[in-house]
C-alpha cells in the first residue's frame, strides 16, 4: 500500500515537473526568438548605410562556417551573397546567422550545380 502511494506520488510529481519544464522551455524559446527579432531589427537599422561593416560581418560568418570565398554586393535595399556549399545545412546555418547578427531577412535563393561544386546566391532584404 505504501509502495503504491509512493509510486503514485512520484509519478504525479514527475508529470508535474515535466509540464513545468516544458512550459519554461517554450517560454524561453519564445522570449529568445522575440529578443533575436528585436536585436536583429536594431542591428539592421544601425547597419543601414554601412556596407563595409555588413561585408565584414558576412565574411566573418562565412569563415566561421568554412564557406570559403564569399561575394557580397548591394542593390538599393537588397544584399546578395554568393558562395559555394557541399550540403543544404551550410546554407541554412548561413541564413540563420545573417538573420541573427544583422537582422536581414532572406528573400530568395539561387542554387547552381556544376560538376565541381554547388554555388549559392542568397538575396537578403535590408530592413528599413
Amino acid at each position: 500500500m505504501l509502495l503504491i502511494t509512493l509510486s503514485s506520488s512520484i509519478f504525479s510529481k514527475t508529470n508535474q515537473s515535466r509540464n513545468q519544464l516544458k512550459k519554461a522551455k517554450q517560454d524561453f524559446e519564445y522570449v529568445k526568438n522575440g529578443a533575436d527579432r528585436l536585436i536583429g531589427f536594431t542591428l539592421a537599422s544601425n547597419l543601414k548605410g554601412q556596407p563595409n561593416e555588413v561585408r565584414r560581418i558576412i565574411n566573418e560568418i562565412a569563415s566561421e562556417n568554412d564557406l570559403g570565398e564569399i561575394e557580397v554586393s548591394f542593390d538599393s535595399d537588397k544584399m546578395f551573397s554568393t558562395f559555394t556549399v557541399d550540403d543544404i545545412d551550410q546554407i541554412i546555418v548561413f541564413i540563420n546567422q545573417v538573420n541573427r547578427k544583422i537582422g536581414f531577412n532572406i528573400r530568395s535563393l539561387d542554387y547552381e550545380n556544376s560538376n565541381k561544386a554547388a554555388s549559392v546566391t542568397v538575396e537578403f532584404e535590408m530592413v528599413n
Binding site: F28, V31, K32, L38, I88, N96, S108, D110, Y111
Partner: protein, 388 residues
Amino acid sequence: MKNYFIHIDNDCKQAEIYSYHDLDSNHHASVGMAEIQSYIDPNSKVIAFLPSNMIRCVFSKKEISESEDQFQARFFSEHEDDLIKDVSKNRLMFSNEKNLALLVDKTIIDPLNELFNEFGCDVYIYPEHFLHQRLDEDTCLLIKGRYSFSFSDGLGFCAFRENFHDYIDLVKKERESFQPTFMVLEKTDEVEFKQSDSKIIAIESLHQDFLSHCEKNDLPSMFRSKITLKGTLRKMNLDRRDLILSLAIISCLLLAPILNIALMQNYKKSYEENTLSIFKELNPNFRRIVNSKAQMDQLLLAIDSNEAKPLDLNILGYLRAIPIDEIASSNIDFRNSKVILEFDRISSMKYSIIDTLIKQSNTKVIENNIENTDGTFSGSLVLEIESD
C-alpha cells in the same frame, strides 16, 4: 527437487532428518532445532512429523453454508470441555475431504512455523501417525521410543513405554475390533508387544510410500506459510554479495525518479533564469516575469511586424527531399513560396524518383517544362509550396 523428512522429538528440542534426492539418501540423527536449517537446501520439499500425542485429531464436519470462522467457532464451542488449554491457545486445521480436524497448542506449532518459514522450502507439518496410516488397518509404529498409533479411520495417537499398556486397554474398550499391526524400524528386545506380532519395516520405504500418496490424500498440514526476509532470500539463493547488489539496484530504481524530478526542476529553474536575463539584457530596469510571452509581445509591438518577420526556412527542407546532385539549378522565392527546379539530362529512373518525392511532399506543380529526349529528362519544374 530434494525431499526432507523431519521427525521432531517429543520435547521439540531435537529432530531426526532424512533427505532424499534421486537415488541418494542421507540421515542425520539428533539435530538441534536451531541447526536443522543448515541441513536443508532451499527450494526443497520438507515434511515434518510431530509426535501424535501433541496433536488432537477429531472428526468434525464443516457445513457447506459455514464459513471458516463460523466453523471454528462452532468447533470450539462443541469441544470446549475436552480442551485442556484456553480455546485461543489452540490452532485448528481442517481437511474438508476427510472431515478431520487437527488441534495443536500454539506454543508448540507457532515456533515451528516461524522456524520452517525461514527455510525457503515447501513445508508440511503432519502428525506422525500419518506416516504409517493404512486404509482399513490399525497400525502401531515404534519410532524413537514412541509408540505411534494410527487407526483405520484416520485418527491417531502416540504413547510411551510407561503408559503403553494402559493406553492399549483404553483403546480396546473404545474399539472392539482393535487389532493393530505392529511395526518396528529395527530388531529390538525393548518392545512392549510380542516380537512375533511385529514386522520390521524400513523408514525409507515408509517415507517413499508417504511421498507417493500424500499429495492425493489432501492431508491437513499444520504449517502456515508466511513471507519472511530470510526465507525469501534463501529461496532466491542470494549470498551476501548478491544481496548488497540487489539492494543497490533497488535503491537506484527508487532514487532514479527522485533524481529525475530534481534534474527537471533544475533545468526549469535554469530556463527561467535565462528568460529573465534576456529581458534584463533588453531592458536593465526589468524587474520580474509575470507572463513571459505577453511581456515579449509587448516589446515586439515597437517593431513594424512587416519588417521583422520570424525567419521561416522550412521551405529549404524541400531541397533535402530531392537528391541535390540531380538538380542543375534551382531558385527559391521565399516571399511567394515558389521553387523552380532545373534538371539537365537525368535518367528516367532518377526523374521518376524525383517525381514521386514531389508528389509525396506538400507541393503543387504549377508549371512543368520537362522534356524527354532519348530517355533522358531536361527542363524545369515550378513548384508552389502549399501552406499547412
